[in-house]
Symmetry: C2
Subunit: 399 residues, 2 copies
């Protein structure tokens, strides 16, 4: 056994090719520009912290932290009581669900990674809505997926394109946020949901139905889940981030029986299990009776904020702009007039202490450079009016 | 736009090939066999819940849950105060570290996944100790790695084999648990640490130095980290699971500057960030002055448990068995005499209400069928004696 002299140093191996394909989040980089406290930023997707039920949540932690078991390792599938509560919500919602159908995740973001691990090998094709939730695009890029965007036809998903692209690419899955989508605030109607389920059955692809905003409905009637039309084909993701608070990082996958063991292995390899303490506290809080009124307060306040934004937008955006009026969620999706570029406009408006997110980064393929996303949940109606007034002045559209 | 009739159903796509390469954890399956409360199981790797500082931890949660900010989204890199505390520990330990060198993870298990994403493409070669921490093998399999085991020569890593295998396979990294390894309890000595660092520099591979047990030392002098000999080549993983409690799921990656942005993107894609609440509570607890005496209690008690096991093993294992005497950690590694098979023996001893883990599942390549792992942290010394007495009877080795 010899100890060789360390005369040479070989170069370090590079990062992985798949990591090279994922860009740092442009939203993240933009948010860095809006951190000055004087900026009213409609760019982020942050819930309103003053609406969190801090006392109720603290009481739940205090209660569960009286048993050493919450400090111990637990199962990869997650807290039994929490899974029973979530299963009950699905069942009440028309989608019969057992606790064993659910795997608790560290936020629903983790569910995207677990399903990518379980379903994707590098080079596999998947379909996404165009535009699409940005951090999902990142996760799919890191899995080496070939990501193909399904375009919208106006405000509706182009279902014929979905059919055509599914036939052409044999995708492993179609990823959708069907209700109050991020970034567009759009919701697939009943017919679209039936046709997505039907396409999944005919072409043999799965659907990942990501529902972080489902419970943030302020108007209109709830719609059945896509899963209810094709239970064997649809994997559902859920989250308490918008309903209790995001700091807990608790979400779940509702998985089909055929891939449940695989998703469980992926979860075990990912982080063994989600925080035992946070899971127990969430279950206790949901069982305490405080969650429902807290959510009702959040809904009422967010509805007022949405209305304040929609009321001000005609005075804010330049003539010829368009935008939608979502029934819930956190976002309004707008389009500047022909010839304007949202990224260029953001650079122009930032000195006026107001910000939004350009739509371009949310596209997997060629971007709509005129699009932008406005979040209405972070500020009070009064502050929204101040911010949009600044935006209108900056855009020169005061009229 | 037509709605096609749903007459045919295409078959669902299978799970990914990489998921198929990861087996469900055999330890997990075995643990299922030991869940009867009458079983004294030396199989698991569980800390002792009665030694957790439940009151101190509850007080920390109660304190931090007075500010809504702990319920909000936070940065992917993690809680600033927590990272400063960990950076201070590294620096005091002889490895100068800034908070910005650290990324908080959801347990150190997640660090394995983040580094796999950042460093590995499918088919890339990596080196591991043979035997190796089981859930690391799973994570590397899910990343599509070609896993090559570096054998031990007796109780020491075969450093010539490390050199030879590095030259032959050009691995992306060598994964090691250098101190009180899982499953073997083995620790790389000073010379081995220098030579591993030297091999990394000469061959141009990275080292992942996983240190969950470093602070669980009961005898002998601490050793410098491998990172201190080759700071640019070594990525370190750490965890509070053995020091505060595993239920919090808080670990970290100490990353080198060249791949820090890539690891940050991987973390963002994995779960956005680790629980804001758990991170804040951990930082508060560590700053409260209660953590150091609690860890001292844990060390004192685990040392007594290790001694109880080492004292009883000569009366427990059949003549011709061998085992080691680790200076810390949670595990003793034993070998049954020639001709005995640990998995077959486990099946024979389980009816006697006692259990261990066979060593075979921990091997990436051909297994040592005579090896087994015994955990000494879960039970009191008295209960360890009862359990090992049952094991001795079951193995027919009472003498």
């Amino acid at each position: 056994m010899t100890t060789p002299a360390s005369t040479t140093t070989a170069p370090l191996p590079p990062r992985s090719a798949r990591a090279g394909s994922a860009k740092t989040s442009p939203v993240r980089d933009l948010l860095a520009l809006t951190e000055r406290p004087e900026v009213i930023s409609f760019a982020g997707g942050l819930p309103a912290p003053e609406l969190f039920d801090l006392d109720g949540i603290r009481a739940a932690y205090d209660e569960v932290l009286r048993t050493p078991a919450v400090l111990q390792y637990s199962t990869s599938e997650g807290d039994r009581r929490l899974r029973e509560i979530v299963a009950g919500q699905y069942t009440d919602d028309g989608l019969p669900t057992e606790a064993t159908d659910l795997i608790v995740t560290t936020g629903s973001q983790q569910g995207l990674g677990l399903l990518s691990t379980a379903l994707l090998d590098p080079g596999d094709a998947i379909l996404v809505e165009e535009p699409c939730y940005l951090a999902a695009l990142q996760t799919f890029a890191l899995a080496g997926a070939r990501v193909i965007g399904v375009p919208y036809a106006g405000d509706e998903l182009d279902l014929d394109a979905l059919d055509r692209l599914a036939a052409e690419h044999a995708p492993r899955f179609f990823y959708t946020v069907p209700t109050f989508q991020n970034p567009t605030g759009r919701t697939h109607g009943l017919v679209a949901r039936e046709r997505i389920a039907d396409a999944a059955r005919r072409h043999g692809f799965r659907v990942i139905e990501d529902e972080p905003y489902r419970q943030l409905r302020y108007s209109g009637a709830p719609l059945p889940s896509i899963a209810s039309f094709a239970p064997d084909h649809v994997l559902s993701l859920g989250s308490f981030s918008k309903v209790i608070a995001p700091g807990l990082r608790i979400g779940w996958v509702r998985t089909t029986a055929d891939i449940r063991p695989t998703v469980t292995i992926a979860k075990q390899a990912a982080d063994l299990h989600t925080s035992t303490i946070d899971q127990a506290a969430a279950a206790h809080y949901l069982g305490s009776g405080r969650a429902a009124p807290a959510l009702e307060r959040i809904r009422t306040e967010y509805a007022a904020r949405r209305d304040a934004m929609l009321d001000a937008l005609p005075r804010t955006l330049p003539a010829g702009s368009t935008w939608n009026s979502p029934d819930g969620g956190m976002f309004v999706w707008a389009r500047l007039p022909q010839g304007m570029d949202a990224t260029a406009e953001l650079a122009r408006v930032l000195p006026h202490d107001v910000a939004f997110v350009p739509g371009a980064p949310f596209f997997a393929g060629p971007a709509d450079e005129r699009a932008l996303r406005l979040s209405f949940t972070t500020y009070s109606p009064e502050r929204i009016r101040v911010g949009l007034s600044r935006l209108g002045t900056a855009l020169g559209s005061a009229r």
